[in-house]
Amino acid sequence: MSFLAPLAMLAAAVIGPIIVAMYLLKLRREDRTVSSTFLWRRMVRDVEANAPWQKLRRNLLLLLQLLLLLLLVLALARPFVRTTGIAGRNLIMIIDRSASMQAADVGQNRLEAAKAQAINLVDQLPDGGRATVIAMGGQMEVLAAATSDRRELRDAISGIELRNGGGSDLSQALTLASALSAREEQSEAAIISDGNVMIPDDVKVPATVRYFPIGRSDANVAIGAIALQPSAGGQTLFVQTTNHGSASTSVRVDLYLDGVLFDARNLDLPPGGDSSIVTEVPSQVRVAEARVSEADALEADNRAWAVSTLDDTTNVRVIGAGNRFLETGLSLLPGVRYTTVPTSTAIFTETVAEVPVTILDGVVPTTLPAGNLFFIAPPRSTNFFSVTGEIEFPSVRPVSGDEPLLRHISLSEVNVLRAARIAPGAWARVIVDSEGAPLLLAGEREGRRIVVLAFDLHESDLPLHVAFPLLLSNIVNYLAPGSGVEASQIAPGQSLAIQVDETITEVRLTQPDGNIMRSTDGAIQIQNNQAVYADTDMLGVYVVEEFRGDELVARRRYVVNFPNAESVIAPQPDLNILQASGLQSAISQERVGRTEFWRWLAALALIVLIVEWLFYQRNGLAYLRERWRSRTRDKGALRAR
């Protein structure tokens, strides 16, 4: 225990002797003449012989007053005990609200525990200290900015809700925290999370970062992957169940087809292991669902859905001199039909709805076709980018991060002989980089999606790698969204964009809980031939229906499954975050938090004061009690009579 204002102790040195002196002065008793002190002497002798503490009792008032003084002075000295917590005056709290925080291994769930911890930290905030509340997970949100209003902070903290989507990327929040803490002295960042977050290695926080781990258990079984794919005899359902825990377990996985129980399998899963179920299902099945029947810490990932893509086909137009690699790759993609068009074609009559994707293999026609475009080795500049020359033997450096176009792909073995030097516009994001110029770009411009591959397939060994068909599949899925197995599965929070014609009058969307959203009342936006719906945080099957007048033109199903990465719920003991002090670790080992308890002391002093008063008035009180007792006795006697 230490004191914030130890000088207040001096008050005790001053006031204490005064109290004692006044008490001694007061002790000069009033003289009262009695007939004889004979009886009183007898009494006092008895009393002193019987109870030595009677002498003390005479001084009880003095003792109580000294105790009162002691308590008050202690309260003024503001004692505190060190606790695990925060010490700074400017606190930046980053609270994880990502999907893994809904694990129910501590209390109601981890998020509630994190909120409780955050409110605890707010309580530890020194007087005049300020705090910022940042919710991390999905879109980062600043819920309370540098306020010392504890009520506002508490409200902001209790208002935090879970986000299924958006991952748990700490970089944005940490960057903001760095900026905030750089402005102010005595800043401190507190990360309240289960630790399953992505930590940037380039952010150096100019403040102390403390990590408050939440969570105990790592036992979690998840449906890691589910897919319903066309096959020769109908459809194939693929379900992968993963045990993320550190103990082996056995679970039963129930398979439902269109809501009806179809199959149940018992699976034994070693720690970290997975087990797959592959089964043929009839072709008319539209929705398949897999459920892990055993409860675990995280319930949300025990269910996953897949929808049938049997009827979806995407028309792809290829303009080029003929490319065997490309054609073979396209023909292998399920649900994709391609037509080859000679390079001389200048006028394209088909609508976007009929041919949504065009691949421009080594040519750039004077008039670009409508729809989404995939440029391969563009020979000249277009409206979207400029070609400024060539680079020889570029190194292939895919960007880090969760890039959907590079999913399941490794490009480390790929060599390129020659590539066009492309200067991308602001719309494009670089997916594969090399020295000075990007090799693969993607982005959206004027309502259309564009992918640019800077090198000819014949001048690279890319087509000989496993990566090529996968890359092609990813690109086609990106360019023709809303089709294919991959497209039917969207991440929570990811907006749903559906290409629609001008002729479509209404788009209707049924959420997993049965709520129906309509484009006619503004719940779904239609812009640039795209219907966009963003509120996809709920897990389950979304049904989109397009109407032309009253006629149902198309019905598509999309599923939102629990993000795979969030199924790892084992709480991390530490976070490695580079801090100004040079520390890498953020776990709070030292007890730097201060919990003051002068309020308790003051309350205790009040109680002592009351006791003293009662003691001083004891005779009056006893007299009142006697009277009350005798009165009730009289009443009782009267009643008895």
Binding site: L27, R29, E30, D31, R32, T33, V34, S35, S36, T37, F38, L39, W40, R41, R42, M43, V44, D46, V47, R57, R58, R618, N619, A622, Y623
Partner: protein
């Protein structure tokens, strides 16, 4: 003290009362009380063989006729009694509301008046300090009532009275034993000794233990230094309910102690609360206990 001790109506009531004694006691003069001596009265007592020198008027001639020997016929003598009234006049007695000393004087007056009205002799002694002891040597008959009352009226409290030495002194000087009335608060460490001294001679002692209501149930609240009216040690107390309760317990046990001491020595013990009027006390309490009739 100009105020008369009693009203006449009360005295008239007292006229009808008579002082009882448990045994016959010898007196000095002819009176109305049975004496252990033989003397002239109408009540036969005994026969005794004649010895030369006896009064021949007392010879029972009828007995001589039968037995041919002389016998004297003896009668019970009737003599006066000497009533001893002892009043503790220590300053502790001059305290309380109603005043204990005045109460004691009234009680002594009533007792003395009853005795006088039955032709007994009354001596009154204020048990004061040595040398300052005042005494009414003895009055007899209703005539003596006025000097008795006058003497009582002029008694003043004295300081530094040692009850036990005063009693010892009285026992040495008293001539004829008889009923003795001691009015005191006994607030003296030597109370046992005093009573023992009194019971050393064949007095028939009645003790009126007089205490004021303020002593029986003191109303203190707070811290006090209690000063002794007789100049004894001062006592510092913190008077709270508990202390007062203990005081009362102590008082009760002390009273019980005195009472058992008295009953062991044939002393009539009366506890007198000055809040109870003298009239009530004399006319009912003392009659109930058979001291008066």
């Amino acid at each position: 003290m100009t105020e008369p001790l009693f009203e006449t109506t009360f005295l008239r009531k007292l006229d009808r009362l008579i002082l009882m004694t448990r045994r016959a006691m010898a007196g000095e003069m002819q009176g109305e009380r049975r004496s252990p001596r033989r003397g002239a009265s109408v009540e036969f007592a005994d026969f005794r063989p004649y010895t030369p020198g006896d009064d021949i008027r007392q010879i029972d001639w009828n007995l001589y006729a039968r037995m041919e020997r002389f016998f004297l016929k003896l009668f019970v003598a009737e003599e006066e009694l000497t009533i001893h009234l002892l009043i503790d006049v220590s300053s502790s007695m001059d305290w309380g509301e109603p005043n204990k000393l005045r109460h004691a004087l009234k009680l002594a007056g009533a007792f003395g008046y009853i005795a006088l009205s039955s032709l007994d002799r009354v001596t009154v002694t204020a048990l004061g300090a040595e040398g300052a002891q005042r005494q009414l040597p003895g009055v007899r008959g209703k005539r003596g009532a006025l000097p008795l009352f006058a003497f009582l009226q002029q008694i003043r409290p004295e300081t530094a009275v040692d009850l036990s030495t005063a009693c010892h002194r009285y026992m040495r000087t008293a001539r004829t034993p008889g009923p003795l009335l001691l009015c005191s608060d006994l607030l003296d460490a030597g109370w046992e000794d005093a009573l023992r001294a009194l019971s050393s001679r064949p007095f028939e002692i009645t003790l009126l233990h007089i205490l004021a209501p303020q002593e029986l149930d003191p109303q203190f609240d707070g811290d006090f230094r209690l000063v002794d009216a007789e100049g004894g040690t001062a006592v510092e107390i913190s008077a709270d309910l508990d202390a007062l309760r203990r005081y009362r317990e102590n008082l009760t046990s002390w009273q019980a102690e005195i009472e058992s001491f008295c009953s062991g020595r044939g002393i009539n013990y009366f506890f007198v609360d000055t809040a109870i009027s003298v009239e009530d006390f004399v006319l009912s309490r003392m009659r109930q206990r058979g001291v008066l009739r």
